[in-house]
Symmetry: C2
DNA sequence: TTGTTGATTGAGACCGGTCTCAGTGATAAT
DNA sequence: ATTATCACTGAGACCGGTCTCAATCAACAA
């Protein structure tokens, strides 16, 4: 029996007003829940809206109000469990405050990131949360700020941009993780990360444009230097941007006779691929090689042995940054805040003393040095 | 030196028109890329737009055109790797066709799903992709259709709703998976799924409102019956809706003396928790218990032993459904299509013959039956 | 009784685009 | 020379809401 609106244009306030025999303005007041209307009229309008099956056009609504109720989020890679968990934190906080989330992937490419930001601004999102893929080019982020919309940074700080930022204590936890390895006796430790630089070769920290990664490498190198490890930079590997690339990097790293005795993986995707390569090469963890990975991904607890991980508060990271942004959206004015969440390490079974074989190897080699 | 637009209202076509000394209509033609304009005027307008740093208001644009360039996606749980991979497929296809994606989580709750759909319609998305959490209540999905926007279903078909749908051959692959277990000699096989029904107890298929799950259980039961397994229904478990619940279900299932000798997990999140419980209880895979899980999640290949999985073409699932929807958005009219992608099984090391101990157990028990 | 106040309502402008339609020259066709 | 054709351009309506402002009316105070 229901035959309402075969497929015509959608029902508008005017339609409802006509049906309820009131003015457009009055109907709008009831439907929009603002202003003041008498009880009788309110009922009439609601009834009319019901029979007509009225659905507000949020687009038109946000055009006049200037608010869309949407938070734009730009992350590097939604498929990375790190980001999907952070996004979950953001979504939950957003929903709790009555906001919705529109998501965009930057694939860690600055141009894609710029396009995404432009698009989201065009869509008039109320605010943005970005995981900047580069600290060199932040013009598009300045634009956001300039357009009057608040911006908050997730996981990566930008020295040049003084906005709300939530990160973790990357430097510190990298030091602790490296410390565990050094304490176990390792002197040949590799650090493998996704960030890519020209040449894929690590020269020095100035080529790393992602703050979180730079801090981690800084911490890593600092502890290595403190422990008098010679030239720890030689084992830093960049460009593990995909499973395939990671496998290449790991295979190359582990196939040399003077391979490192321990590896620190910059995220769980990298850690997983490295673990697979270790298995493929017939090496044992931790007898032949020790492994620590960032992010307590689900797989890390079911391997044999389970993997020691850097357990970042990812969900809280997302939740906090969203809350910070939302407070600002609600009109709070205060100097930008830079929150640094603390991180713990979950020690499981993937760290042991360095492989004797390699240490021996080294000793005999040292003559040719 | 850049001090453009301190923080005032955003620049509009009218502003640009004034600056370029042409009419609003002409400026709009240039800026909107439609109609016809002379070369000179085109240049002038572009120059004016540049100096003013004009950014189109997509909201206003979509209000008049009626198109937003956005595809709304409602999935059960973005954190589930199954969905995040599918969403990736959708996003890629969308971007390739010039569409953007706005994502919403239903948490597999029909009311949340309804709210999400209402919101997305309000935002005037051009089309929707939904993973319906229930086949009982589809009124909100009918509404989408009625509003003139195309709808496509992902992973779960709805008999009552004749729209573009992409699923996998759940029934068939469940039969093959169960077949592997039966062929290995198992007669006590459990099926654990997330769908929740009143009472958490499985009675019969009519309580399962998620088509994909129902088909899987159908396939599972069919093969069991064919193999003359008696009352296979007794080992079907519902309500593994969260890691905690799954652990409860698994622990209960595995702690009885007549525990099943094999388990089929309905998704990788469930499979992972079951695997953890198996480890916690000190059982061995596959000696004490065989395990097959749906979805080739990353963890399944690094456990010892690696897990035999049902490898659904998840990315393709998302990509296909998006492509179907986009073709319709571009005006293609044809009867709704129901695509069924085929699925393979990756046999690894988690299936073996049933535990003798339990089989013995059963034999002695059978007298009391 | 008369001015004041406040709740309620309608008219119409506005948001920032798109789009239709009519008008203006200029060039091409007859 | 006259008309048809065509490329351009401007005016103004429109999308579907919100919001300001003035008008109306009943109750209340003086």
């Amino acid at each position: 029996m229901k035959k309402t609106t075969p497929k015509s244009r959608s029902v508008t306030v005017s339609d409802v007003a006509r049906e309820a025999k009131v003015s457009k303005a009055t109907a709008a007041r009831v439907l929009g829940g603002y202003g003041t209307v008498s009880g009788k009229v309110h009922e009439d309008v609601m009834a009319a809206a019901k029979t007509l099956d009225y659905r507000p056009n949020e687009l038109a609504r946000s055009m006049t109000t200037g608010k869309s109720g949407i938070i734009g989020v730009v992350v590097g890679d939604i498929e990375n469990p790190f980001f999907s968990l952070a996004v979950r934190g953001i979504s939950d906080a957003a929903r709790a405050a009555g906001f919705n989330v529109i998501l965009a992937n930057s694939s860690e490419q600055i141009e894609v990131e710029k396009a995404a930001v432009r698009l989201l601004i065009g869509k008039r999102v109320d605010g943005l949360i970005v995981t900047p893929s580069e600290s060199r080019d932040v013009s598009h982020l300045r634009d956001i700020h300039r357009s009057g919309r608040p911006l908050a940074l997730l996981d990566r700080a930008l020295p040049d941009l003084d906005v709300d930022t939530v990160t973790v204590d990357d430097r510190d936890v990298a030091m602790r993780a490296t410390g565990i390895l050094v304490d176990a006796g390792h002197r040949d430790i590799a650090y493998v990360t996704a960030v890519d630089a020209e040449g894929h070769e690590f020269r020095d920290l100035t080529q790393i444009y992602t703050s979180s990664v730079r801090e981690r490498i800084e911490g890593f190198l600092a502890v290595c230097h403190d422990a008098r490890v010679e030239n720890p930079e030689r084992h830093v590997r960049l460009g593990a941007t995909s499973p395939e690339e990671t496998r290449k990097v790991a295979t190359k790293l582990l196939s040399t006779p003077d391979r490192p005795t321990a590896i620190l993986a910059s995220d769980s995707l990298i850690g997983l691929e490295i673990f697979k390569v270790i298995q493929t090469l017939g090496l044992r963890v931790p007898e032949d090689i020790s492994l620590i990975t960032f992010h307590d991904a689900d797989w890390t607890s079911v391997t044999s042995p389970p993997i020691t991980v850097v357990d970042q508060p990812v969900y809280a990271l997302g939740k906090s940054v969203a809350e910070l942004l939302i407070r600002r959206l609600k009109g709070e004015t205060r100097p930008p805040e830079r929150l640094v969440l603390s991180t713990s390490i979950i020690e499981r079974g993937s760290v042991g003393p360095p492989s004797k074989e390699i240490v021996e190897n080294k000793r005999t080699d040292s003559s040719s040095d």
